[in-house]
């Protein structure tokens, strides 16, 4: 546990010592703020100010989801790629640390970094509640969904970062994979009905829809959990790969 904490603290320190996270957080906050404003306008003019969950929060959550997709790769790309490029990975791997401890420390730090992106948006539900009280619990379900989605994104980004020395490659590939998992169910009309089920099942974003209107579906939770476990497993294999070279 102490080792995990040590890695976690080091990673967090590295995150907040570099300007990147502030730039990403600024862009994320600006986009969220703008869409908060436009979605609110939409809610008032087209939604007639009724059914706030479907006419406002769902729209906003789906927008935030998009921004997460573009921002998380910037957070995760450095996790292993930077250490490999710098050479500090040699230090890390020769310290008495288990791979699991390294993984967990980095993973938690990245999740915390993403949560700091999301945290300022928590002002919105309280702000609206000041203007016009409404049931807030479904909104927090939406936030739970965003958090789960962020955890999936981080686990994916971590795996890709463990594969390469280049942060740029790690970021672009992670973004590509996440985008692909979103885009796979875009053109539903073109997919024949039998396959549509399967396509929807793997689309990471379809599994978020329930959360965005305040519903927790165990199937969605299971999907997220499975995806995280899959990427975690792959990350461990990628870390192990250093021992494969020169094996007979």
């Amino acid at each position: 546990m102490r080792n995990v904490l040590a890695v976690f603290r080091k990673e967090l320190r590295s995150y907040f010592a570099s300007p990147l996270i502030y730039v990403v957080a600024a862009a994320f906050s600006a986009l969220c703020g703008y869409y908060f404003y436009t979605d609110l306008l939409h809610f008032i003019t087209f939604g007639f100010g009724i059914n706030i969950m479907e006419n406002f929060w769902q729209l906003l959550f789906l927008d935030i989801r998009k921004f997460l997709l573009f921002c998380v790769p910037f957070i995760t790309m450095r996790l292993f790629a930077e250490e490999k490029r710098l050479g500090t990975i040699e230090l890390l791997f020769t310290y008495p640390l288990r791979d699991g401890e390294i993984f967990l420390g980095k993973f938690l730090a990245a999740v915390v970094a993403v949560v700091t992106l999301l945290a300022p948006t928590l002002v919105y539900p309280f702000l609206l509640n000041q203007v016009q009280p409404y049931p807030m619990l479904p909104v927090f379900t939406g936030y739970l969904g965003l958090l789960l989605l962020a955890v999936v994104f981080v686990s994916c980004g971590m795996f890709i970062s463990a594969l390469t020395e280049s942060q740029v490659v790690a970021g672009v590939v992670t973004g590509g994979i996440l985008f692909g998992l979103w885009a796979v169910s875009w053109n539903e009309a073109a997919v024949d009905p039998q396959r549509l089920q399967a396509v929807r099942a793997i689309s990471m974003f379809d599994h978020f829809h329930g959360f965005s209107i305040g519903l927790i579906d165990l199937r969605d939770v299971a999907y997220f959990a499975f995806t995280v476990l899959l990427f975690t497993h792959l990350t461990f294999r990628a870390l192990e790969a250093r021992t494969w070279r020169g094996r007979r």
Binding site: V7, L86, T88, E90, T94, Y95, R242
Partner: protein, 321 residues
């Protein structure tokens, strides 16, 4: 303390380490001497558990580096060749991280960190981010982190490479102070460094261990060759003839630096069995002939020279048998 048996490591088709065996006793300071690319780093990375060998075994304090990797890594302090530490972390923060992961008891952390910072002369740099440190200070931080938790074995990969002469001297004296505290295995491609710091020297070439000797023995092997660089103004052919005529001179090599062969002055390297008497005689003769003695500089015995001798004698050895 360190036991390496028939260790082999392949990278693809390249055999980086080839059936290397060596042992280091507790408290010894042993040098791994070899040119760049001879397998020193690979050998050390196997010992520190960075990657496993293709075949053979390595034990530290009786523990196999593969099957007891964590336990071995707890006993070893390692300074990698490329000293790139986390650039954004301040020195003390980084050492705290190292102390945590190395399992220094929580209550002792501050004391242990202060101790290694004092040993490495880092007190004034405690709050400075590592990226703002000079190469020499980074090397000290790297050594400081290796010393945390009093490792039984210290593995230093080319600890003075890339340092300026003053920093080199400082790091060498730092290593000398460690000699009594733990078992040290250090690699270098600088011959005098090995004989200066190490009680015993293991010579490695193309992945194979070609010789093993005490520092004194190594010095003796090299003693037979003194190399002197000369720059003399005068007729090249006459100079060569005169130099070859000096008693004790084995060989005169023309040393042309770059493409510019200045017609009026010529550079030579004289290889002789003895150093000072020969140099004295050369100077006397050159001046006596009225040539201009522009430069007379003793050259440090080179690793190449040693290799020629070692491999030469090895070849002779097999010829005799």
């Amino acid at each position: 303390m360190i036991e390496v048996r028939e260790l082999t490591k392949f990278f693809g088709a390249v055999r980086a380490v080839d059936r290397a065996s060596l042992s280091v006793l507790r408290g010894e300071v042993v040098g791994l001497l070899g040119p760049n690319g001879s397998g020193k780093t690979t050998l050390m990375r196997i010992l520190t558990g960075f990657f496993p060998p293709t075949s053979g075994s390595a034990r530290i304090d009786g523990l196999d580096v593969q099957t007891h990797s964590l336990a071995v890594r707890r006993k070893v302090g390692y300074v990698p060749e490329q000293v790139v530490l986390y650039p954004e972390l301040p020195v003390r923060r980084f050492l705290r991280f190292a102390a945590d992961v190395k399992g220094v008891p929580r209550g002792r952390c501050a004391g242990a960190i202060a101790e290694v910072m004092a040993a490495c002369g880092l007190e004034e740099m405690a709050r400075r981010p590592i990226r703002k440190l000079s190469r020499g200070y980074r090397q000290r931080v790297a050594i400081a982190q290796a010393l945390l938790n009093d490792p039984e074995v210290l593995i230093l990969d080319e600890p003075t490479v890339g340092l300026d002469p003053r920093q080199t001297v400082e790091v060498r004296s730092l290593i000398r102070t460690l000699a009594g505290r733990c078992t040290v295995l250090l690699s270098t491609h600088i011959l005098p460094e090995a004989s200066m710091l190490c009680g015993r020297v293991i010579i490695i070439d193309r992945g194979r261990i070609v010789a093993e000797d005490t520092a004194a023995g190594l010095a003796r092997r090299v003693e037979g060759v003194a190399r002197t660089a000369l720059r003399i103004a005068g007729s090249r052919r006459e100079i060569v003839a005169a130099l070859e005529g000096v008693p004790g001179v084995d060989r005169v090599e023309a040393a042309e630096e770059g493409a510019v062969a200045d017609a009026a002055t010529a550079r030579f390297i004289v290889v002789s069995r003895e150093a000072d008497p020969v140099r004295q005689e050369i100077a006397a003769r050159v001046v006596g002939r009225g040539w201009g003695l522009l430069e007379l500089r003793p050259l440090e015995p080179s690793l190449e020279e040693l290799f020629v001798r070692l491999l030469g004698s090895e070849r002779r050895g097999t010829g005799d048998a």
